[in-house]
C-alpha cells in the first residue's frame, strides 16, 4: 500500500516538474541570455536541495516501476513483491548515497 502511495505521489511530482522543465528548456529558443538567467536559478543552494529531492523521487519511482513490471509479467513476481519492495529501498539508498555527496559538493563549490 505504501509503495503505491509513494509511487503515485512521486509520479505527480515528477509530472509537474516535467511541465516546468519543458518550458524552461524552451527558452533555449529565445536567447542565451534568457535561458542562462533561468537556469542560473537552478544553481542556487535551495534549488540544489530541490534537485536532490527530485532525483530521490525519480529514483524511487523508477525502481518501484521495475518492481510493478516484474509483479505483472514475471511468474514469481507476486509472491516476492514484499522482498522486492525492500530491494527497491536498498538500491534506492545505495543510489542516493552515491548521488548526495556529489550534489552537496556541487552546491558548495564555486564553479
Amino acid at each position: 500500500m505504501w509503495s503505491w502511495v509513494l509511487h503515485r505521489i512521486t509520479g505527480v511530482a515528477i509530472y509537474f516538474f516535467l511541465l516546468v522543465h519543458i518550458l524552461d528548456s524552451a527558452l533555449l529558443r529565445v536567447s542565451p541570455r534568457a535561458y542562462n538567467a533561468v537556469i542560473d536559478t537552478y544553481k542556487q543552494p535551495i534549488m540544489g536541495i530541490g534537485e536532490a529531492a527530485l532525483v530521490a523521487a525519480i529514483m524511487f519511482h523508477a525502481l518501484n516501476g521495475i518492481r510493478i513490471i516484474l509483479i505483472d509479467f514475471w511468474g514469481g513476481g507476486p509472491k516476492r513483491q514484499r522482498l522486492m519492495f525492500w530491494l527497491v529501498l536498498v538500491v534506492w539508498v545505495i543510489l542516493m548515497a552515491g548521488f548526495l555527496p556529489r550534489q552537496i559538493g556541487v552546491i558548495l563549490s564555486e564553479f
Binding site: 509520479g11 529558443r29 550534489q103
Partner: protein
C-alpha cells in the same frame, strides 16, 4: 427445496472487435517505463554528474554542445515524448480515480490532453529549430564552435 432461477445477464456482450485502449495504455506505461529508465538515468548522469561542475556546468553553451550531435537530439526527443505521454496518462488515471464530478473530470482530462499536445509540439520544435549561434548574443554565452561575430 426451492429452485433458484438465474436470469440471463442483461448487458450485451462486449464486442471483441473493438480496440481495447485501456489494455494498450496499460502496456504503454510498462514499455515506456523500461525505456525511460535508460533515457532518464543517462540524462541525469550526463547533466548532473559526468561534468565536473555538475548542475553548475549547465547553460546555453552546454546544451548547444550536446545538440550539435544528432545522438542527443534523438535521445531528448524520445525522452520528451515517452515521459510526457507516460506522465499525462498516469495523471489521467489519477483524475479518473479522484474526480467524481463528471463535468469537472471532463474539463480536467481535456486540459491534460491539450497541455500535453502543446508541450510535445513546443519541445520538439525547440530541439529541431535550435540555433546554437544566434546573432546579437554575447560571445561568452555561446559555444566555442561559433564563429566570432
Amino acid at each position: 427445496m426451492t429452485t433458484e432461477t438465474v436470469e440471463a445477464p442483461r448487458s450485451a456482450r462486449v464486442s471483441r472487435r473493438s480496440t481495447n485502449w485501456e489494455k494498450w495504455a496499460w502496456l504503454y506505461m510498462r514499455g515506456s517505463g523500461v525505456l525511460l529508465i535508460v533515457l532518464i538515468f543517462g540524462h541525469l548522469f550526463t547533466n548532473l554528474i559526468a561534468d565536473e561542475g555538475g548542475v553548475k556546468a549547465v547553460d546555453f553553451a552546454f546544451v548547444a554542445g550536446k545538440w550539435a550531435s544528432p545522438f542527443w537530439q534523438i535521445w531528448d526527443t524520445l525522452m520528451l515524448w515517452l515521459a510526457l505521454i507516460h506522465g499525462s496518462n498516469g495523471m489521467r488515471t489519477i483524475v479518473n480515480d479522484y474526480v467524481s464530478n463528471s463535468t469537472l473530470r471532463r474539463i480536467m482530462l481535456v486540459a491534460l490532453l491539450a497541455s500535453s499536445i502543446v508541450l510535445i509540439v513546443l519541445g520538439t520544435l525547440v530541439i529541431y529549430t535550435f540555433d546554437p549561434c544566434p546573432s546579437g548574443a554575447l560571445q561568452s554565452q555561446l559555444p566555442s564552435f561559433c564563429p566570432a561575430q
